[in-house]
Subunit: 665 residues, 3 copies
């Protein structure tokens, strides 16, 4: 698998010269401005199909060759994109089968992007042909350093071709209808299938109540999308096997199982659009960091920050400007967590249509005399000083388990609460674990647990085959496992474990769960720990029966006041904790602080003010102030390579300040 190997930290963005082909003056000016901005890496050709193949079979590649030549001449590298993210109108008109069908069975009209069937042989043929032509023409162009497949894969199609493919996938997975009926518990509401042809994707005007079907459909969507992606990558890999291939992934995206989907990518790349300037800067920064850690973990490699905005976006309800310094801070946050590039959507604002007000390095005014342009220049300045981190991976001893398939199952779950809060719960654990700068991987159930000292796996509702066994082995060999309410309820087909929860983790956690209470929004219970400390909790409260586990804390209210709420089960060399509810932030802070040392975690910088992040990578310790105000913090001795100043002791961090400290005296 080829790696992304750049001779520099990449800096650039999506470049759409196809929109400006009648303005050669602007295309020239672009290159001057790129050099002025310190850009060295552009993504070219995304959504350019109607420019590349204006009529069926007629390719017009000349303009693209000119662009690549011009960029190369200026020393700028290129991720070359395949155009499959949107198809030309002539194709939709002549071959309507390329358009998606909605869950109610109606086919979409032409329009928008991402509106194509991933199964359609016609669409696959068109994509294959143009991708082959592109790679043959440009695959060995010296500017090209990697491939950017399509754009933000996602969505689904319910056409007859997809139904056929779904049935074939189901046959391969379940073998017999009997096995499928058993796995999906179709005896319920008379849903037993008697013929494969009866199977159909879930639909709001058809079937929605078979959770096994819903899960299977989501898995199939990942499978089929990945299959399409492989097909579109095939000619590219054939002609340029040395070039790494990626596609851009999205924040907290649940439409695809990204671990499964990314197996065929050479490196991950990511589109990051945090709501900077909002009411809770710490939380915004935390969510961004969580995504970056996830991206880095997906391939256990540095990733590309493929898209971000140098100023504001155009699609939030309220699109705030990035305040001075925030652009540098937010860009280096990505680098600290594992990005080897800082790229933007978009280089130059388009003149018309839906994204014309999305932030860009170059505004409609067309010149460099803008605040945004200067902020972009500050990033190139910083990146030049951070080459040490390029290609480096942080040292990680702890993992947070965030499993997309578990998320699907929890979101589909009926009872005991409509909103189970899986994502928020995972982020709450992330915040507590990151409080002292602990480096975290964001893994899923398929990852290797043995790399870590600690695995936090909140709300691990669905246990796929072998996961419980692997977690038990991890604990027995000395690992620390943290679980929480609604753990171990169902198997991979959403079938409940009999013998009650936490199912196959019962021995590992040393308890069983009798029932789970649900609390209204705004309602709370309390936790009292053995040492007397008290906390609140909410949303869900398991009533548990410890068997081998010891009780660390109890509920303080309702009819189960005094019953166990937090437990620890020593097992082999390790220990498994159970938090039977959704506790408040103070609890999680104290809890993880209490076990961090015992679990052998590295805390690069203890005692940072809330909202100041720390992250070590490539021998540098990044310290980042997301609090929105100047704060004082105690820093290690060393040199901030950005400012070229010595650090050490109590120091004032300015608003949006960022340091990259090389420790040492």
């Amino acid at each position: 698998m080829p790696e992304l190997k750049l001779p520099f930290l990449g800096h650039g963005g999506d470049y759409n010269p196809d929109q400006w082909r009648d303005r050669p003056d602007i295309l020239e000016e672009d290159v001057r401005l790129m050099k002025l901005a310190g850009c060295n890496l552009m993504s070219v050709g995304i959504f350019a199909w109607s420019a590349l193949e204006p009529r069926e079979g007629e390719y017009d590649f000349g303009w693209l060759g000119d662009v690549l030549d011009r960029l190369h001449a200026a020393g700028i590298s290129v991720f070359l994109a395949t155009p499959s993210g949107a198809r030309p109108a002539w194709m939709s008109r002549r071959y309507p089968e390329v358009l998606r069908v909605r869950p109610d069975g109606q086919r979409n009209l032409h329009g928008e992007r991402h509106n194509h069937c991933f199964t359609s042989p016609v669409y696959r043929a068109f994509v294959g042909r143009i991708n082959r032509a592109l790679v043959e023409r440009f695959g060995h162009h010296p500017a090209v350093v990697g491939w950017h497949l399509s754009n933000e894969y996602g969505g689904e199609c319910h056409c007859a071709l997809c139904q056929q493919a779904f049935r074939a996938w189901l046959k391969a997975r379940y073998g017999t209808l009997e096995a499928l009926n058993r796995a999906w518990w179709t005896g319920f509401w008379s849903k037993t299938y008697s013929d494969w042809e009866e199977l159909h994707s879930p639909s709001p005007v058809g079937e929605t109540s078979i959770h096994g079907l819903n899960l299977a459909w989501r898995r199939f969507v990942t499978h089929q999308t990945a299959d399409f992606m492989r097909a579109e990558a095939a000619p590219i890999r054939e002609v340029t096997p040395e070039l790494p291939v990626t596609t851009n992934l999205m924040e907290i995206f649940g439409g695809l199982d990204y671990f499964e989907f990314c197996r065929d990518l050479d490196f991950a790349s990511f589109d990051s659009y945090p709501r900077w300037g909002g009411p809770d800067g710490e939380w915004t920064a935390l969510c961004a960091a969580f995504n970056y850690d996830w991206m880095r973990t997906l391939k256990q490699r540095p990733f590309a920050l493929m898209e971000s905005t140098p100023s504001q976006v155009n699609w939030h309800d309220v699109c705030k400007l990035k305040k001075p310094g925030m652009h540098l801070l937010s860009s280096l946050q990505a680098v600290a967590h594992g990005a080897d590039t800082v790229q933007y959507f978009q280089w130059r604002k388009s003149r018309g249509a839906a994204e014309k007000f999305h932030g860009a390095v170059v505004d409609h005014v067309g010149h460099e005399h803008t605040r945004t342009f200067r902020e972009v220049q500050s990033v190139s300045g910083a990146l030049a000083k951070l080459d040490d981190v390029r290609g480096a991976m942080p040292e990680v001893r702890a993992a947070l388990l965030f499993d997309t398939q578990n998320r699907w199952a929890l979101e589909d779950c009926q009872g005991p609460r409509r909103d189970m809060g899986y994502l928020e719960t995972v982020l709450e654990h992330y915040r507590a674990l990151r409080r002292h700068g602990v480096a975290l991987d964001v893994i899923d159930e398929t990852c290797d647990f043995e790399r870590y000292h600690l695995v936090a796996a909140p709300m691990l509702y669905m246990l796929r085959p072998g996961v419980a066994e692997r977690l038990e082995a991890f604990v027995r060999r000395g690992g620390t496992l943290v679980c929480s309410c609604r753990t171990g309820c169902v198997d991979e087909d959403d079938l409940c474990f009999l013998g009650d929860f936490p199912g196959p983790l019962r021995q590992t956690l040393g308890l069983w769960v009798e029932e789970t209470d649900a609390l209204y929004d705004g309602e709370a219970n309390g936790i009292r720990m053995n040492d007397g400390r008290s906390y609140t909790c909410r949303a869900l409260c398991d009533r548990i029966h410890p068997e081998t586990a010891e009780t660390l804390g109890v509920y303080t209210a309702d009819f189960y006041a005094g019953e166990p709420c937090v437990t620890r089960n020593g097992l082999g060399e390790g220990a498994a904790y159970y938090i039977a509810t959704r506790p408040d932030a103070e609890f999680l802070d104290d809890f993880y602080t209490g076990i961090a040392d015992r679990a052998g975690l590295e805390c690069p910088l203890r005692g940072l003010p809330v909202g100041v992040g720390a992250m070590a990578r490539g021998g540098l310790l990044f310290v980042m102030n997301f609090t929105g105000r100047a704060v004082r913090a105690s820093l290690p001795e060393g040199v901030d390579v950005l400012a070229g100043r010595r650090t050490g002791g109590e120091t004032e961090l300015p608003v949006n300040g960022v340091l990259a400290i090389r420790p040492g005296r």
Copy 2:
């Protein structure tokens, strides 16, 4: 009409052995647990069609025979269900006409339950065949004590067959297009029909503005559903005319006119899912009681509590556990109000699909060592002591008129307020009337008023033919009638009475209504009674002109301050009251307290704390504490047959406490 005659108060629930056919060990264990739980009545076969007829025409009844034999051997009786609530996938695939068509004319895909056309001859034929086969095979099985038709009938279909049936029903009702056009006021917006074929069900993409059409369609839906039900019951009644037939009805359900629909049932049965544990326990209990009184009134017979949950449901936004004692309390509430059974959905939690987390007697853990199981046992213990109430009807002298067709008309009404608050208003009157334990029937316009001393009929907007005349006769003969704002506006086709409101009740109430003001949510007016007491009122304020009525109270604000608001019209031996607005709870309490004695109502227990319910049935006085805390109340002398303790004087009722007092010294 055969009655439900059980030799005990029934206790049990929905039992789905069809989901566990590959687990004979569990089927055996079920019987052991049923006996341990004190269950004596199971509902079997609901949604079992795909198990009973796995392929078209191939019946597999063996497993069901085994189940019935096994239950019978254990002394457990059975309500045997027809499977029409959901059809097998093979049927939808081969005969798409069995699936429903939505109001926009699009046919549903296969899936869910309740997704069949009630008109389709194909569906009726399938149902008829399997029902005949079931009754012939099992109708005389000694375990079977009654029939449970389908499940929670509801919904509607807009297919071409239903349009034809609708037109035929319209022809039968109106005779000529001229009559129909006149009744529906189709001169409005050029809507006059010139051919029967132009008639079509209401649709959001077609016609919604003819209220006469909307009403007719809802009546047709009740008619056609009842017609389907009669058709599916026909073979059953032919073969087992001695067995009573029911179907399970739903809380405050407005999709069918239950009085009309129930004419063909032998007894009513009910699915009760109050939100116990919510913020207002008194109101929750009140709504439950209202439903029970409605169910008992529907057939003027004891009803079956066909479904309830022994722990939590899975479909509320927040599904709270029942707190200790609540299960006994809530179960006996149903018995106090007229239930002869306490049954659950469901006996055992299913392993998969949408209802796997719905509460059940037996959880996934599979054994009896759970709090829920013990709570269920407490119910069998109590029922054994309450056999006196079996078959008994409470003595009732007051009725609350809650008319589903009036509800349809009010909900469809445009002006003077989008939310007319009919249901809430009815419940407010119910609360005030029940404050002293007065037993109430919940009747509709077709019921016999002469049984009662008092009829409260708030917001009786639509007066079907003869209703005004029967109410007037009721008053003249000594009855007390209570009406409120928006009374007597339209006839049965939603055509306004000319000569103004309250239309044909003008003489009975002794006033006319000039106009009706609407108040914003949060806005209020006031009422000042002749005796000086003051109250608030809201939502709607009729400006009235008393003719023969005397004024009891006036408005206190706005330009109609000082104008009459509460009146009394003596007529013959009786009196008719008019409350021209929606008053607060204090008003209604004082108002009904003031007229209760005069109207000759029985108040079994005055002065109970708010939230403590009292209900007399079968010589026992049930006292039920829904306040969520321990309270003191003054109880009559007698014996609480549940605890076997004497009662009398000031007594503490524990949280969720319930007593069944046989009065006497």
Copy 3:
């Protein structure tokens, strides 16, 4: 173009005798009541198609002739309506093409009103035939004084015929696909059109992201609706060229560009339904006045108040009664602002269907002894004293630019805020300008600016060709121009101006805009003026660079604190102001007060309490108390022709009081 010339101020309303043809007694009674109410002008025949043509080709005009004769005999004039607002069921059934198709391509069922395709040749033929028959039969009837076309034109159809017409319209507008692709920036997301047949109306299941397409479609809808209207007016104008033609327009309606649409009307007429009695009476009155000024400006002629309610409506969420006096006050408000009629929907409440509870002069009770009837009589009394204003236009020196096409563009705009608040911003400027009774026209970009001393043009985001040049010329010749944030961003196809904003107004305003910050709801910045006064602002904050403009005020917060926020650019004889944000009401009050004198505006009555409106027309100064309470105001010397009382000095205005003062000693 014939004018509306009535020998009196019109008073009357929509009259639907077609609904009462079987009640000749009521038709007789109507005339008696009309005379009693002082009504002299009725609108007849709206939605009467099924009465006029009960079967295809069979006209039944006799009843209408009788009605016209009867009205004429009573001295009552008539606006005769064409019936095209709703078609008979027989037509929809036999010619489904007359029904509309939704944006997803599905055709509606028959039903409702306004459910017809404006393109369908079949529908146009039917309309043409019946209109010709109507005008030939009744065009010269002495009662008929004008034509009321259809009813509240609006909506759109996406059928194949409309797609064809849309393509033809696009060809005519853009000439070539190249020009269209350039204007719409279709290079974005591969949207380039390669064949005219690929063009399709915007659809939520197709294309929504091409703002140029969205704008073109809305323009086409106006074009096609106007084309239909011209076609339906053609036979009428041919036979009765002397009679003026109108159609009734709607409040703040954005579905059509009314300036464009009204070019073919002889006079404007308006349906006015303010929410009187709501929490903010001043704002309600202000919005009503704004609409009236808009209507008057559309044709620069007096308009007809074609519909209003004499009591309550039936379609607000909460339909409040008009309090005593409000009906007179609100009716005369329309007259003060330019109405020559006061008409109602409706004369008599219908008995059935959706509008039976909409207020009317005659209620279901059928007699005149109602408050509403007396309030209506008070209007006839007042109108008789106000004949001076008939046909008169107010003297107007200021204009507020509210451009519907600009509204479309702003509402479609993605970024920097979902809710741009255009309408609210315009109304805020209106309120400040009206504070001292300044008479205002509500113009659009196509109007002649030279008539005015001041043009306020807030948020003029889209500048159609020549507008910037005309505004610059207006300023150079001495005009005062006021602009605000988001001005001059795009051209008429929503293509951004390069060289940055405010585009071609850069020189006029003397500044350029670098970027625009968006503020959350509830978030604020501040303005500090050079003279020290401070205000708040919100929603949007342009960061601007004055070039020739002088700074009048600066921001007080965020990173752009101290930067210019309010500027003035002297240019030629005039000046152009820029308010770079959305300021609070206090700012706008002070701002416009400060420039009113300088701009040479007439302030008929300074220092009125907030909520008291003043408006001069026809030599009379109307003073109107919308505060909901009695207030004191200083009035000019003169005579209130309504009360026949002298005025002058500090005077108490009663609740809902209105005066019409003829100044003089």
